[in-house]
């Protein structure tokens, strides 16, 4: 889990274009309140798909999925679990 979070933080720091340091964000911090724009969130999704080798289904392509590091981790976990079963 910690490893996933680190990877997510790495993608965030490269693609989310946040006006704050990614290391200062808690797992539950609202990324939109921290400055994530809808434009940057699309780039974030693409980068996450590439980094984790997954594809977000239509139902996950919503603002809420990318609300926080924890919600991104939950989404990725559910995709990895689904792929394994």
């Amino acid at each position: 889990m910690a490893e996933t979070d680190d990877q997510i933080r790495q993608v965030l720091s490269e693609h989310a274009k946040l006006p704050v340091d990614v290391d200062s964000l808690g797992a539950q911090t609202d990324l939109y309140a921290a400055g994530l724009t809808s434009h940057a969130s699309v780039n974030l999704m693409l980068a996450l798909e590439d980094a984790f080798d997954v594809e977000f289904p239509q139902s996950m392509l919503r603002k809420q999925t990318f609300q926080s590091i924890a919600s991104i981790r939950d989404a990725l976990d559910s995709l990895v679990t689904a792929a394994a079963s």
Binding site: V20, A33, A34, E49, L61
Partner: protein
């Protein structure tokens, strides 16, 4: 349903008796259609979208869209003003989920038929309405806001303005709220004029907006959600109905022109009749598009999952681009059919005004910006909307 059918019927009468007769003067003088607004207020048409329990008409969005269409057919500026007002009302009805907004809708919108305007754009953000420079400053339960808005349509005539701003002076540009700014706490200082080719009666001057309000007049939800679930889709829906009204007025003019030709030589179908048949196929595409999208929004308007999906945002963007393109297409075809009679500025056909208004549709919130947004979303969206 009877009362709502009544709203559309009342709108038709107002359009015929008040809006249409003033349309040329409103356009020529680039003046606010005050007689139209007086008539709409007298018929309580500014509050048709407000729920009945708050004293409004309780109409659905597709029904309000029909009213906007009927008004737009008579006078595009009046139609746009009506549409923009209803967009603000829709934001309050759907997202103003606290007591002060219920009171406002009931007392001011339903009670006094208040006219609401919008200040989402800002000088310095490059047209990106999802970012703000200005910020709400809170102090002791009151808030202050100062915003340089390049456009506030009918700002001088509006009783209140819904303005976007950063949540706090420390918030990032994209963390926005929507604030209800009401006179007398609202002061607008003009900074630019409005002398355009079309939509001249919307009086869309630029202003410095200065507002003071209780903090309870900040809508509780983030503007990001209000924008994607209501402001954007309702804007594109209502505007596209007004633009269809423009197209419908042009096709009626062309039809009348061809009929007059045919009367001169009974038994001979004028060549222009073929062009009219072509025009009608495009008009039908336009009408089917707006009716379908109105139903589609109505069906999912309470389903947050569906509203938040990218495919929905792309579909509503596509509606705006398609409708603003179709209106130019239809009016251009009508001009072709009527020939020099339609090209004359002093013609009874009135096509020159419709042509100027039609071209505004693709420019107000530029289609290129909308297409760029869709293009970006489509990089990740999975299915066609």
């Amino acid at each position: 349903m009877a009362a709502v059918d009544g709203a559309l019927e009342r709108a038709r009468v107002v359009a015929r008796d008040v809006v249409a007769p003033a349309a040329d003067d409103v356009d020529r003088e680039a003046r606010f259609p005050k007689e139209a607004l007086e008539a709409l207020r007298a018929e309580r048409l500014l509050s048709v979208l407000v729920p009945e329990r708050l004293g409004g008409g309780g109409a659905s969005l597709p029904e309000v869209a029909r009213v906007a269409e009927v008004l737009g057919r008579a006078c595009a500026s009046t139609g746009m003003i009506y549409a923009m007002h209803q967009i603000q009302v829709a934001c309050l009805v759907r997202h103003g989920t606290t007591e002060p907004f219920y009171d406002y809708l009931s007392e001011e919108v339903a009670g006094r038929q208040a006219l609401l305007a919008s200040a989402t754009t800002e000088v310095g953000v490059g047209g990106d309405v999802r970012t703000s420079l200005c910020a709400v400053e809170e102090h002791d339960g009151r808030m202050r806001l100062e915003k340089r808005a390049p456009v506030i349509s009918y700002g001088q005539q509006a009783d209140a303005v819904l303005a976007t701003a950063r949540r706090t002076p420390d918030s990032p540009a994209s963390d926005q709220v929507l604030v209800l700014c009401q006179r007398p706490g609202l002061v607008l200082e003009p900074i630019s004029g409005w002398d355009t080719l079309g939509f001249r009666g919307t009086c869309s001057l630029g202003f410095v907006l200065r507002a003071e309000a209780p903090t309870s007049h900040i809508l509780p939800e983030p503007y990001a959600d209000i924008s994607s679930r209501t402001m954007l889709p309702v804007s594109h829906l209502l505007w596209s109905h007004v633009w269809f009204g423009i197209a419908d007025a042009a096709s009626a003019a062309a039809q009348g022109f061809v009929r007059a030709l045919a009367r001169k030589q009974p038994g001979v179908t004028p060549p222009a009749a073929l062009r009219l048949a072509e025009l009608m196929t495009v008009r039908l595409q336009f009408e089917a598009l707006i009716r379908h999208m109105a139903r589609r929004y109505e069906e999912i308007s309470a389903d947050l999952d569906a509203l938040d999906q990218m495919s929905f945002a792309v579909a509503m963007n596509s509606l705006k681009v398609a409708a603003s393109t179709l209106v130019v297409d239809v009016v251009g075809r009508a001009m072709q059919i009527c020939g020099m009679a339609g090209y004359r500025a002093d013609s009874e056909l009135g096509l020159e005004r419709l042509l100027r208004d039609a071209h505004g549709a693709a420019l107000m919130v530029n289609n290129d910006r909308i297409l760029a947004n869709s293009a970006h979303l489509l990089l990740v969206a999975r299915e066609a909307g």
